[in-house]
Structures are given as structure tokens and as C-alpha cells.
């Protein structure tokens, strides 16, 4: 698209939809104030480090382990949510049952609950003598104070994202395409896998990306259940806090920069996947 064309489109937009100028101006202003300026300050601070110092801060074994724990657990949690979130959304849309509204409201609870409350509750329930942990302990499954606990906490806070992005898409699925598939001899599973799921996939990916991003950034609920053992169950946000408490601001921003870049790249990839999964829509 040449610059002339862009000019033309901008001009057209202005004449048809009024208010382009001020709204775009405010959008840029807010994005700058709220997102871009703090982030560039972060990058600037990190840029104050020499290359060697930077590497030393972001590639220390304990920090590397924390990346693995954070991103690994966030991916696992987002994956779990992608599967069960679709299931929950499906049940909520397709089947009438008593208490449906209540269940629908429950889904949003992780949004509203203070993360610390969620963390303490989960840690209590899943600890060795908690309601659930008590029954898992004899089977050799430890949840609280292990990386598994981190996955549980991230799954909890990420659930609404998948459900809420997939739900409206399931609502809009046309019953006729399922009937068409059945007439053509497809089983229920084939219908789901080949006809319905590809239509849900973009929204599942969006939900997955949101849940993942939330998981990576989560701090409050995790520190209560993780046990925070260095090299085992220590998450990167905790490393950053620790560095800040030791007045190692440059080190903290260096680690933060790595997280920022990694998250951005992953979200970008997911976005591209999403675009690809909607290739038929043009």
C-alpha cells in the first residue's frame, strides 16, 4: 500500500466517519502514557548495562530456571484451560441444566477474586493436609509448594479467558452445518474435529494467548502455593521482586526486558497462528 493510498484512505475515513482525528489522538496519547513510556523506560534502564552485565543478570542459572518454570507452567496452564475452557463453554451454551446461570457466573470469579486470596485458598486446599491435597498425597502427588502448584494457580486465574472468548463463537455456530455433516455420514467426533473445531480454533487461540499472558504475568496467587524454591519453583516475577528488594534495579529491569521480549514474541506467533486459522474468511 503506497503512501498516496494511505492518505486517500485516511481522508475517506475522515469524511465518512467523523471523529477520526481526536479519537486516534487520544488512543495514541493513552497508549503512550500507559504502555509505551513505561516500557521504554524499562528498556532504557536495561540499556544502561553493559553486554556482559546484562548477560550476567539474565542468564544466571537461577534466572534461567525461573524462565523455564514460568513459561513452562504458563504454557501448561493455558493448554489445560484451552481444553477444559472449551468444554465448559460448550456445556454452558449447548445444554440446559439447573443452576446454569450460577455456573456461568462462577466462571468469572477468578477475574474478581484478589489474587492473594486465590493463592492462599489454593495453597490450603492442596497442601498435604488440605481437602484435596490429603487425597493426592497417598498417591505420591504433591501439588502445593511444587511447580505443579504453579500450574494449578495459573489454571485457576486463566480459566475465564478461554471460556469467555469461545462461548460467543459456540453460540453463533449454525446448527445446519452439524446436520449437513451428519447427513454426509460423519460421526459426532468427526463433525467436531473437522467441522466445528476449525471454526472455534481462532477463538480458542485467542483465549489460549490471553490465559498464557495472564499466567506469565501472575504473581500474587503463585507465591503462596509455589514454595518459591530457587531452581525448582521460583517464578521470574519473584526474581524481579527479589532483585528490587536488593536494590539491583538494573538487574531487575534486565530480567524484565527478557520477559517482555519473550512474551511479545509468543503473542505475535499466536496472533499469526490465529490469522492463519481464519484464512478462509476473506
Amino acid at each position: 500500500m503506497g503512501p498516496m493510498r494511505v492518505m486517500k484512505i485516511l481522508k475517506c475515513t475522515k469524511s465518512v466517519l467523523p471523529g477520526f482525528g481526536p479519537t486516534m489522538g487520544y488512543t495514541l496519547l493513552y497508549l503512550s502514557l500507559v504502555v509505551l513510556i513505561p516500557l521504554s523506560a524499562l528498556l532504557l534502564k536495561a540499556a544502561g548495562l553493559s553486554w556482559g552485565e546484562f548477560l550476567g543478570a539474565v542468564a544466571a542459572p537461577r534466572v534461567l530456571a525461573s524462565y523455564r518454570v514460568t513459561f513452562g507452567a504458563a504454557l501448561a496452564a493455558a493448554g489445560i484451560n484451552a481444553v477444559f475452557g472449551v468444554l465448559v463453554a460448550w456445556v454452558l451454551v449447548r445444554y440446559p441444566f439447573p443452576g446454569k446461570r450460577l455456573v456461568d457466573a462462577l466462571v468469572d470469579l477468578p477475574f474478581a477474586l484478589p489474587t492473594a486470596v486465590a493463592g492462599i485458598t489454593l495453597a490450603t486446599v492442596y497442601s498435604a493436609n488440605g481437602w484435596v491435597g490429603r487425597h493426592l498425597e497417598p498417591h505420591g502427588i504433591k501439588v502445593a509448594f511444587t511447580p505443579l502448584g504453579i500450574v494449578v494457580a495459573m489454571t485457576f486465574i486463566g480459566l475465564p479467558f478461554v471460556v469467555r472468548t469461545v462461548q460467543p463463537v459456540i453460540e453463533e455456530l449454525d446448527a445446519e452445518i452439524e446436520e449437513a455433516a451428519a447427513c454426509l455420514g460423519a460421526s459426532r467426533w468427526q463433525t467436531f474435529r473437522r467441522v466445528l473445531f476449525p471454526l472455534l480454533a481462532p477463538s480458542v487461540l485467542t483465549g489460549f494467548a490471553l490465559a498464557f499472558a495472564r499466567g506469565v504475568g501472575e504473581y500474587g496467587s503463585i507465591i503462596f502455593i509455589a514454595g518459591n524454591m530457587p531452581m525448582v519453583s521460583e517464578i521470574t516475577p519473584l526474581i524481579i521482586i527479589t532483585k528490587l528488594e536488593q536494590y539491583d534495579y538494573a538487574g531487575a529491569t534486565a530480567v524484565a526486558t527478557v520477559m517482555l521480549v519473550a512474551s511479545f514474541v509468543m503473542l505475535l506467533v499466536i496472533n499469526m497462528l490465529q490469522k492463519w486459522s481464519r484464512r478462509y474468511a476473506e
Binding site: 449437513a180 447427513c183 454426509l184 460423519a186 460421526s187 471454526l199 478462509y280
Partner: protein, 343 residues
């Protein structure tokens, strides 16, 4: 494959959609289910397909009871009004779908599927669109792809639910001629639902006129048009004038049995001087030109009843009718029914 429908009943939340419907659809015919909306025609079609199960009665394919067979096992081709194409699949994959979901043991090879699909796309004259997505096609093209997809599984019967309902008038006329030719080529027993009497008369071998969950009349287009079994059928197939009484001695004479006379609007002759005693005096109230034909509204003298007459443009110009003029109308063909029937 013949289809027998025996005493089928269906209710939805207390509303009777089908009331003891029995019908035989002979093998290889193209049959239209015709009726106003809500008459149960789509429900009947969906019951034949197995997408809906009847509350009572049974469906037989070639004498074999299929009432309890799942839609997957019935081997019917179903074409939906809004196409119901899989929009994430290319045209080719849409048509191939019914073949690729078969269990491995009965699935044709990749090459066979390819040949079959391309053959069907040629049959519907859209083989050049194989790699497109449905969103890139026009409505008429989508419906032809939907038809090719339904035919790919070699269905025993083909069922079409208002197949041209979502298309504009010209594409619609073109597609229905095309469907007729296609059926002459492949001869699969086909049933299509329509509320458009013109479509039914043009395309079908047999017409089943339905109303309020019942079959009013079933027969060839000529039978239902020329020998309507009751006022509903007469009224539904074409414009008709209704007189409460018998038409005789130049007037409308009511009788004790509530006789109602019906005259199709194109069966009315307009003349300046009465040819015989059946002519009624009337005043031209309104003239409306509709392309090749002209619709004239007349008020019958001394009765307050209105008549609609449909003339060809030529006839209209020959007479040279003017609004407000006093003329004679003479029905060419009158059908009388004794009123025990509500329309």
C-alpha cells in the same frame, strides 16, 4: 428408491406440525412439497431425512422401515436453504467431505475421491472453483456446490429445503431450470420444499400441496392446477376470485348451502357488450401493468364484490380499457365448492 410416508404425526410444544400424513413418492421422481409457511412441509422433509423423529407413524425407503435409522445411515442427500457449506474448507474439500469421513475400509482412494469430486464439480459446472472458499462464491454457486456435496455420497434420495429461497429472482429462475435438467440426467428420487407455486409447477413431476400439517392434494402439476381438490389448493395455485353464491343470469345468486364460486383471474374475459347471460356488469376501478400482463380491478355492479382480472398486454390494448369505465365481465371457467372449508 421410493419413499412411503405412513400416518406420520409430529408436534412441537403442543403445536401440531404434521397431522397423520400419508404419502407415497415414486422412485426416480422429482416431487415438490408446496404450501404456505408453517404448513409442515419442512418438518416432513426433515423427518424423511432423519433430522427430526416423528411422534407417530413410519417412513419406508423401498418398503424397508427406516424410521429408527440414524440420519448418518439413511444415505440421504440434504440441501439446506442457506447452503450450510463448511466455510473453513475449500469447495473441493466440501464436496469430498462425505467420502473422506467414511471408515477406512470403505473409503475410496485419494485418486478416486479426486476423480469423483471433479466429476461432480463438472456436473454442476463449477470445476474451476475447486480451490476457492465458500465465502468467495455467489449464492447461486454456493447452492450448486451444496448440491454437488450432497450428491457425492450417492444418496438414495435427495432432499432440498427451499433450495432457491435465498437467491434473487433471476438466479432462482435459472437454477430451477438447471435442477430440472440435472434431475433428468441423474434420476435420483428427489423431494424439494417450496412455498412458490410457480417453482413447483415448473420443476416438479408431482406436487404435494400441504396446509396445516395435512396433505390437501397430491398429483401432477396439471392435476393440481386443473382439478384442484378443494378451495385451498385452487387458491394457493394462482390468483383467484371468490364469489359467495352461484354465478348465473348476469348476477351472483347466494344459495342456502353456502356455495362459493371461484374464478381464476386469467379466466375472466372483459367485454363491452355481453356475449351471453353469464356476463356481469362491472366498473373498472384500477389498472396495474405488470410487465407482460395487466391486472384490472373491477367492482361488480350491485353487489359490492371486487374482481381481479389478468389480461395479456395485447388484449388490454385491443380493448382499450379506461379507469371508471363500465364493462361486462364473463368468467370462462367457474369452479364451485360448497363452503365447509375455511381458508
Amino acid at each position: 428408491m421410493s419413499i412411503e410416508i405412513e400416518n406420520v404425526t409430529k408436534q412441537f410444544n403442543g403445536f401440531t406440525a404434521l397431522n397423520d400424513v400419508s404419502l407415497t413418492i415414486p422412485s426416480g421422481e422429482l416431487v415438490a412439497l408446496l404450501g404456505p409457511s408453517g404448513c409442515g412441509k419442512t418438518t416432513l422433509l426433515r423427518i424423511i431425512a432423519g433430522l427430526e423423529s416423528p411422534d407417530g407413524g413410519q417412513i419406508l425407503f423401498n418398503g424397508e422401515n427406516t424410521t429408527d435409522r440414524h440420519v448418518r445411515e439413511r444415505k440421504v442427500g440434504f440441501v439446506f436453504q442457506h447452503y450450510a457449506l463448511f466455510r473453513q474448507m475449500t469447495v473441493f474439500d466440501n464436496v469430498a467431505f462425505g467420502l473422506t469421513v467414511r471408515p477406512r475400509s470403505v473409503r475410496p482412494s485419494k485418486g478416486e475421491i479426486r476423480d469423483r469430486v471433479m466429476g461432480l464439480l463438472k456436473l454442476v459446472q463449477l470445476d474451476f472453483l475447486a480451490d476457492r472458499y465458500p465465502a468467495q462464491l455467489s449464492g447461486g454457486q454456493r447452492q450448486r456446490i451444496a448440491l454437488a456435496r450432497a450428491l457425492a455420497v450417492e444418496p438414495r434420495v435427495l432432499l432440498l429445503d427451499e433450495p432457491f429461497g435465498a437467491l434473487d429472482a433471476q438466479v432462482r429462475a435459472e437454477l430451477r431450470r438447471w435442477l430440472r435438467r440435472l434431475h433428468d440426467e441423474i434420476h435420483v428420487t428427489s423431494v424439494f420444499v417450496t412455498h412458490d407455486q410457480e417453482e413447483a409447477l415448473e420443476v416438479a413431476d408431482r406436487i404435494v400441496v400441504m396446509n396445516r400439517g395435512r396433505v390437501e392434494q397430491a398429483g401432477t402439476p396439471d392435476q393440481v392446477y386443473d382439478q384442484p381438490a378443494n378451495p385451498f389448493v385452487l387458491n394457493f395455485l394462482g390468483n383467484v376470485n371468490l364469489f359467495h353464491g352461484r354465478l348465473q343470469h348476469g348476477g351472483i345468486e347466494p344459495d342456502s348451502r353456502n356455495t362459493v364460486s371461484y374464478v381464476r383471474s386469467h379466466d375472466i374475459e372483459i367485454e363491452r357488450t355481453p356475449q351471453d347471460s353469464t356476463a356481469l356488469r362491472a366498473e373498472v376501478k384500477h389498472i396495474q401493468k405488470l410487465g407482460p400482463s395487466v391486472r384490472v380491478t373491477l367492482a361488480v355492479a350491485g353487489s359490492g364484490e371486487f374482481i381481479e382480472a389478468e389480461l395479456t398486454r395485447d388484449t388490454f390494448q385491443n380493448i382499450g380499457l379506461q379507469q371508471g369505465e363500465s364493462v361486462y365481465v364473463r368468467p370462462r371457467q367457474v369452479r364451485t365448492f360448497v363452503e365447509d372449508y375455511q381458508i
